[in-house]
Amino acid sequence: MDSIILQILNGLDKGSAYALIALGLTLIFGTLGVVNFAHGALFMIGAFCSVTLQRILNLSYETIDATQTDFLGNPLKVKTPYLESWFGPEMGSSIIEWSVPLAILFAIPVMIGIGFIMERGLIKHFYKRPHADQILVTFGLAIVLQEIVKYYFGANPIQTPAPEALSGIAQLTSTIVYPVWRIVYFCFSLLIIGAVFAFLQFTTFGMVVRAGMADRETVGLLGIDIDRKFTIMFGIAAAVAGLAGVMYGPINAPNYHMGMDFLVLSFVVVVVGGMGSLPGAVLAGFLLGILESFASMEQVITLIPGINQIIIYLVAIVILLTRPRGLMGRKGVME
Amino acid sequence: MGILEIKDVGKRFGGLKALSDVNLSVQENTCHAIIGPNGAGKSTLLNCLVGKLIPDTGSVMFQGQSVLGRSPHEINQMGISRVFQTPEIFGDLTVFENMMIPLFAKRDGAYRLHAIESVSNERTLIEEAEKMLEEVNMLDKRHMHSASMSRGDKRRLEMAMCLVQEPKLLLLDEPTAGMARADTNNTIDLLKQIKDERDITIAIIEHDMHVVFSLADRITVLAQGTPLVEDAPENIKGHPKVQEAYLGEAH
């Protein structure tokens, strides 16, 4: 029993990331009708937002401490972050320590901005082009974004630790322990998913967007400036992917190709959930995350070797062949 | 026995009854028009004939063989060609290449892997294609990219592609929809010519009464998914039931 609960828990953090990325992909696909292969890159940029913030917060000045010397006998240069000198050493260092959660505030405007630029500058011109063209151009964009990040941050993963208060291990029951940050990540993703759904459900803006997802032309005929709303939607989707990336840093150190790694799986998730279905994307994200974690159990692997590596793809193939619309897809979307 | 026998065909979409108790017999070498107000089920009926939809009940026999459950390409190979409401052609190909495809389908059947021979060596087929293009006055456009042609030309090309297969039954789905008067008249002339010169049966769905009465030998009026009347054109004109059906729509 415990091991089952543990596997479910283990699946949740990856599932959360899948769900968040797939949610954004589906938003973009459902509203704009665009297949965005650069979405993984947005996730990756989000993760690097927290790297950037960490660096900004760590900006330091050097002083020479005459009381200490290095091994050659020279006076030691000591780096002091500006924050520590402004807010005092304690306050300053704890701000630095909390750089990942703080990066949420930093990432939201950055990601929305990037989303706007992407949509207005590039995606807009591809609404009427075939899906293959959209895939190709966003694939190119993903390469470009990835290479820019690689140029500035290098090819190696960069550690972005969680604040100490959240990086321990939680004793859930007498026998189950689980990293605190993963619980945080799961709750955070639920929060974001809830916020997106509430936004779509309870605001007029959301209503128009939902109507647009159902029938774009009719909404356009009502004289509603649907294009502009969709630009904002793209910004929101970018922010969702970015936030998923920001908070994922402490689980997996950000590197420039993490976006591509997640992209492939997220597409599989979207397809399993049903193209254009938001609840489907979330459901499939969590389901596949948990399934993957079950497949990695030792008992399962000894039974069917290698199953943990291929389970997601296998599920996707079976779903696509038996239920082409995915778990919760609507009729007529991309058939 | 007609060449096409539709018996007791019914089709529902969820709660909506699109077709019920449709009985229709199309006689060989006639032009049979199916008219009716919007939403009468004309297009649904047509889709049931070509394999796009499968009716819930009833049977559709073509030359004594059932078409139900067969896929569109099999039904075409039986001798039924369809012209769409908006012309469906191969927009990326030239007019000439468009013509070659139905010719290959006619000669080789639904599938044959000719990967090594060259299209330009198919002398007889090329001659046939050119002859057909000449008949519809499009020989001078043979190298044109077909997507860049006018709607009227696309319609003529589509018609030529269907005719070159020498189908026994030609299904026309509002062939003059959205056409200017002059184009409509040209199409009527073309269809008349086809009818007179060939052994062909035509079933036509049409809104434009002018077209219907210039072509049809027999007219079926469809309303709310059921045939209302079937008669010769001159008897349809003043038929009270028909007027009722159309007036009903006007309300």
């Binding site: 011109h125 | 390409h73 769409f84 495809i101 021979e117 330009s120 190298h143």
Partner: protein, 399 residues
């Protein structure tokens, strides 16, 4: 000539001339000159040019003609490589049986994967092929280790049986791949003044195979089969209602392109007898997509150009470092030179991927016909200047 019309024959002859003279064309700089590092005429790279050319030609038969975008074609390349290496291990070091087996095995895999994947179209097809390829990749890394040797990759050893050959040579080393005795590693250098040109046996074997593959693809493009494939891309509905069943056609195209990929994989192993799972990864599939689109999908010569361009970027363009840049711009005043180098720096050398990505985006956005369309537009521009009458060139979709 050979059943081709005049235009295609000319194209084929040009390609024959270019590939046969490649050792000269790709080594334009004298060995001692500073530009010698931009010489691409060494056997290893030349082989890669033509092998990836074959891969892209095959991919183009599927994507360029039918419009089905496969994101999993590298799987067939990997399968081809594994099959060939196994042939070297078990049978003999002659490359013919190895390459034949790789084509056949890749074809069988393509038949199965294609049969399943082609039940869906559009993005669903792309995702299915991607899923199959990623599965093959993951399996090759893990469970199939006895067949693939996992992360290390499949290599020849001194203990391989090689029934028709020898396990090891007289001096106790692993025998080299050959074509009836002609060793693939064999090469001779021709030195003309300051220039040096390398003629490699392996390259010429690959080049001949590529020419055959290219010739086959011209025949396919001009055949009724090719016409059907283009019709599938254009309007599947009309094709259905014209009495044709698109499924066998697309499947045949998928299998043929899979066999081309297997051929490329087999040749790769024939030149360098090892095979690794990373050849099957989806990024490798992405690469052949890039090649085909960049050169011009649906055109005859485009994929070969695209493959050449990307491999040139990867191997030569990536060598441009700051020193080279400084030497290029040394004629400028110091401050200007530094800033120019600073601006260019991210795009060259290790940043070649960035340049490639940008070019690719530009091509997809503005030149859907790739480099070939670009060339045609330029040619048309010149023609228009020459002739007074700007008769619009008749559109020949497949050139």
């Amino acid at each position: 000539m050979l059943g081709l019309d005049k235009k295609d024959s000319t194209l084929l002859l040009i390609v024959v001339a270019l590939t046969m003279l490649a050792p000269f064309i790709l080594n334009p700089f004298p060995t001692e000159s500073g530009l010698a590092q931009f010489n691409a005429g060494y056997p290893d790279l030349m082989q890669r040019f033509v092998i990836f050319g074959i891969f892209a030609i095959g991919f183009n038969i599927l994507f360029g003609l039918t419009g089905y975008l496969s994101f999993g074609h590298a799987a067939f390349l990997g399968i081809g490589s594994y099959s060939a290496v196994w042939m070297f291990k078990l049978l003999s070091m002659n490359i013919i049986p190895a390459i034949l087996l790789s084509v056949v095995i890749a074809g069988i895999f393509a038949l199965v994967i294609g049969f399943v994947s082609l039940r869906r179209t559009g993005i669903y097809f792309s995702i299915l092929t991607l899923a199959f390829a990623q599965m093959s990749f993951a399996l090759a890394y893990s469970v199939l280790t006895p067949l693939t040797n996992g992360e290390t990759g499949l290599q020849l050893t001194l203990n391989d049986p090689r029934i028709l050959g020898i396990s090891q040579t007289a001096d106790g080393s692993i025998p080299v791949t050959n074509l009836f005795g002609l060793e693939m590693r064999g090469a001779f250098d021709l030195v003309v003044g300051p220039w040096s040109f390398t003629f490699s046996a392996g390259y010429y074997v690959c080049a001949v195979v590529m020419l055959l593959a290219f010739y086959m693809s011209i025949r396919i493009f001009r055949s009724p089969f090719g016409l059907m494939l283009r019709a599938i891309k254009s309007n599947q509905q009309r094709l259905n209602y014209t009495g044709l069943n698109p499924k066998p056609y697309t499947l045949a195209a998928f299998v043929i392109s899979g066999m081309y990929a297997g051929l490329a994989g087999g040749l790769m192993a024939a030149m360098d007898p090892l095979a690794g799972a990373e050849r099957m990864q989806w990024t490798a599939s992405g690469e052949v997509v890039l090649m085909t689109i960049l050169g011009g999908a649906g055109t005859l010569i485009g994929p070969v150009l695209g493959a050449g361009m990307i491999k040139y970027f990867e191997n030569i363009f990536s060598k441009i470092n700051d020193n080279v840049l400084h030497s290029w711009f040394s004629f400028m005043p110091d401050g200007l030179e530094d800033s120019v180098v600073f601006i260019i720096h991210p795009f060259v050398g290790k940043g070649w991927h960035l340049t490639l990505g940008i070019i690719f985006m530009l091509v997809v956005t503005f030149l859907p016909g790739g480099l070939v369309e670009g060339g045609q537009r330029i040619a048309r521009l010149f023609r228009r200047k020459k002739t007074v009458e700007p008769k619009s060139a008749k559109t020949e979709p497949a050139e």
